[in-house]
């Protein structure tokens, strides 16, 4: 019985391994595309390799779903342990990025950056598998997980995390660019502050409603499984923290904040996503918390504690940076000047600009634009 199962599981894992190689190859080609060879053909090759790797991962996911179907006599989303959840995250991230590449940003220059978080997930899986060869094995299902809510709730949450991760990458690029750590704009005008800021905000606008829906559906599930929709469980609390931070972010944008400071809040939000996704499991282990979400328990090893520390730093750094002076306020203000769409009919304040003219209020002198206005709606 066990031998047959192990064989079957190993067979399905082959596709996962191929997919991982595919993702790594796509990452390298994307990196070559942005840094060395900006010919569109290179970008096309990268996207094709990425798509092919995703297809291989889909085969793995389908095979494992079929395996679970036979074991449990029904559909079970392969998300019963951390390995499978990470795998699912990557599987959702890739098509979102490809769609974004095709429809929203219309360039393949961001591929290497966008694949950073998915590759981090795959690296985490590789580390887990090296420490415990059984980390990728399917697990038995807890009674509370035997519900159609499993795939609905998990899908919404992971989808929102994947979208917010992409938003955070653009926010990070914005911060690096504005701090002049890297001058990305020399690669392409697509790396302008305006585009980075706008794309980052759009991803949050896309991910936030899905996050809200995911939390709501989780509450509905908790209510039907345990008779309470909210129990101050660490995972629930951290999901609420994510929600509150992104809610704050959206409100700041509504107030007219654009640019550097919202990018920092976006990064803070994503640090809490990582904390919810990974950190809470480690917290529960370290502090012996009786979490009802402990399906994928973390460890108490030194590496896990260091990792927890890194997550803490990821949250702390944006908070500290928020209170430090913003970089090159004038340049940022000038670059964001042309942006017409982010905040409808609300006066904007260019972050770091303070008050006065740099807060974005530019009275138009009489007869300022006697010529027909440029169409600000064109990209």
């Amino acid at each position: 019985m066990d031998e047959a199962n192990i064989q079957q599981i190993n067979n399905t894992l082959q596709f996962y391994d191929y997919a991982v190689f595919g993702y790594m190859a796509a990452f390298v080609i994307y990196a070559v595309h942005v840094f060395f060879a900006r010919h569109p053909r290179v970008g096309q090759i990268a996207a094709t390799v990425l798509g092919a790797a995703w297809v291989l991962q889909t085969v793995f996911l389908v095979k494992r779903t079929i395996f679970y179907y036979h074991q449990h006599n029904g559909f079970v989303l392969p998300s019963t342990n951390m390995f499978e959840v990470m795998n699912y995250f990557v599987w959702l991230s890739v098509p979102i990025y490809l769609m974004m590449e095709w429809k929203l940003i219309k360039t393949r220059l961001f591929g290497a950056f966008a694949l950073f978080v998915p590759l981090l997930m795959l690296a985490f899986n590789a580390r887990s598998m090296s420490m415990d060869p059984g980390a990728a094995d399917p697990r038995e299902l807890f009674p509370s997980l035997k519900s159609y809510w499993l795939w609905i709730h998990v899908s919404c949450m992971i989808l929102s995390y994947a979208i917010l991760a992409l938003g955070a990458i653009f926010a990070l690029l914005y911060i690096l660019r504005s701090l002049r750590v890297v001058n990305l704009e020399r690669f392409s005008s697509k790396f302008s502050l305006r585009d980075l800021d706008r794309t980052s905000y759009r991803m949050v606008l896309f991910g936030f409603p899905i996050l809200t829906l995911g939390i709501f559906l989780g509450a509905v599930w908790a209510d039907s499984a345990w008779g309470r929709y909210w129990g101050w469980d660490p995972k629930e609390v951290w999901a609420l923290i994510i929600w509150l931070i992104y809610l704050g972010y959206i409100h700041f944008r509504m107030m007219g904040w654009v640019g550097y400071k919202p990018a920092l809040i976006n990064m803070l939000g994503f640090a809490t996503v990582l904390m919810t996704f990974w950190g809470v499991n480690i917290l529960a282990s370290v502090f012996n918390l009786n979490s009802i979400h402990a399906y994928s328990a973390g460890g108490e090893s030194k590496a896990d504690l260091y990792f927890l520390g890194v997550l803490g730093l990821l949250a702390l750094i944006p908070i500290v940076m928020l209170f430090l002076p913003s970089p090159s306020a004038d340049t940022l203000a000038a670059e964001l000047e042309e942006d017409d769409e982010i905040v409808p009919d609300i006066r904007r304040r260019i972050s770091g600009g303070g008050s006065g003219s740099s807060d974005g209020l530019h009275p138009s002198p009489p007869g300022r634009s006697p010529q027909p206005p440029a169409d600000s709606s064109q990209n």
């Binding site: 399917p138 038995e140 009674p143 809490t272 012996n288 027909p372 600000s376």
Partner: protein, 503 residues
Amino acid sequence: MAAHKTWGPFNFLWKWLNSLPIAIYVMLLLALLNALGTILPQEHLVGGMSNLPIDQQYIQKYGQQRWEIIRLLGLHHIYFTPLFFLSLVWLCVSATVCNITRYKRTMREWKTPAVKRGPGFYRADRRGIEFDVEPDADAAGVASLLREQGFRVHEETDDKGARCIYGDRGFMQRWAMVVLHVAVLVLLFGGIYGSIFGNKGNVRMADGEKKTLTLDIAAGKHPLVKWFLDDLPKRNYELSQDTFRIDYGRKLILPTVLQNDEEFSPEFQEYSHYFVKDYVSTLTAERNGTTVSSEVIVNHPLVIDKLMLFQSGYEQNGFLSMSRDGEVTEELVPADMWLCIVTDTSGAPALARAEDNRGQTDKVFLLEKVKAGDLYIDNKLDRHLGPMTVAHVQNMMTNELEDVMLDTEQGFTVSVNGRNVQVRLSERIQNFSIFSYKRDPGMPVLYLGWILMIVGIGAALYIPFHKVHVRVERNEAMLLVSGVRGGGLKGLKKRIHAILTAG
């Protein structure tokens, strides 16, 4: 912001409650307090982890001095501290004030939008443009264009004879913002209403047991609300646990840590293969002549007269059988305790704590949880499992530790006062089904709040709202187009400009 012009404490408070930055900072403070609650273990989460009293558990972990600080600041139940409560109250009141202001403003914008705007309005916004036009510029043509484009158009002439046109499109987005903020209040109302007028708790029932569950709404409530709940009638529900069973499954693959480590004996590995797959009660509930009977499993509660009974847990207890010279005694197996066998006053073998009876016996042992129930493999009933467990037996003479599989036939022998006692498991099993029950009249309100919130968020973020202001005065025109790019806004500025400057 509220448009209160007079100064006074009320207006000052109103302004603060209406302040978006303050609301955001309170949100971030709440997020911080929430985070703190997951870094410091909270009382309600550590409670069941040890047999020690809660304060002792904290002292063990943090030391007396730190525990005093934690207790003083209430960090061990942060979600119930005055600061957390005040932050929540601030957000609730702020949301209410914000709603009132937002509703009034939206209604005003909807019914009587500000059409007549002076030149200062256009000049204060960097998106505003000014250009020369002929005296007979076609303002009516602009209005027609806007109507064609789906704008709601208002036209007026101001005191200076300037033709003012205002158009907006996607006003639903504005209402969605109102709905979204109302949803927060609906959610809070649902939660508070449910916690005041609802009941929840646990009931533990043995196989075949009957119980009367009495719901007293006032029980356990805060004195602030208890006084008016005391007079409400109590509700009785007759519960009957017809059957209860615990089904087991066999793990597909044993976790690697158990498979490879020599520390784990084959007996323990075999024992570890079996896991609780389901626990299922057949429960009958009756109230006021209405009887409901159903199979209750996790995710499938029984509902009767708005009371929901959830299968939230189970207890499975085994009995140890100790036989000596044909005389058999049975005792319930205590959990997580090193045991030994002694003789009681009548000379019969009895279980005792090992640490209280050192030197009286040659072996002490620790028992894993007893497992017993139907075993399913590949979703098919395979056989009846157990009762079974593993005993970690330590020989006090040699200090050797061995794992012994214990069931109704296999066991081990202990020497007590020079006479051998055979230890194995009894056929007897005591199962308890644990139900969480809940009667929460706030649930429909909560669901309504959630739905409003999700619809509100979707509409507020995805319906594009566009506004166009045009002012045509003799030889000059002013134009301000605002809103999210796309959604048909493309080129609108150019087209309006073209109409007005067409000669």
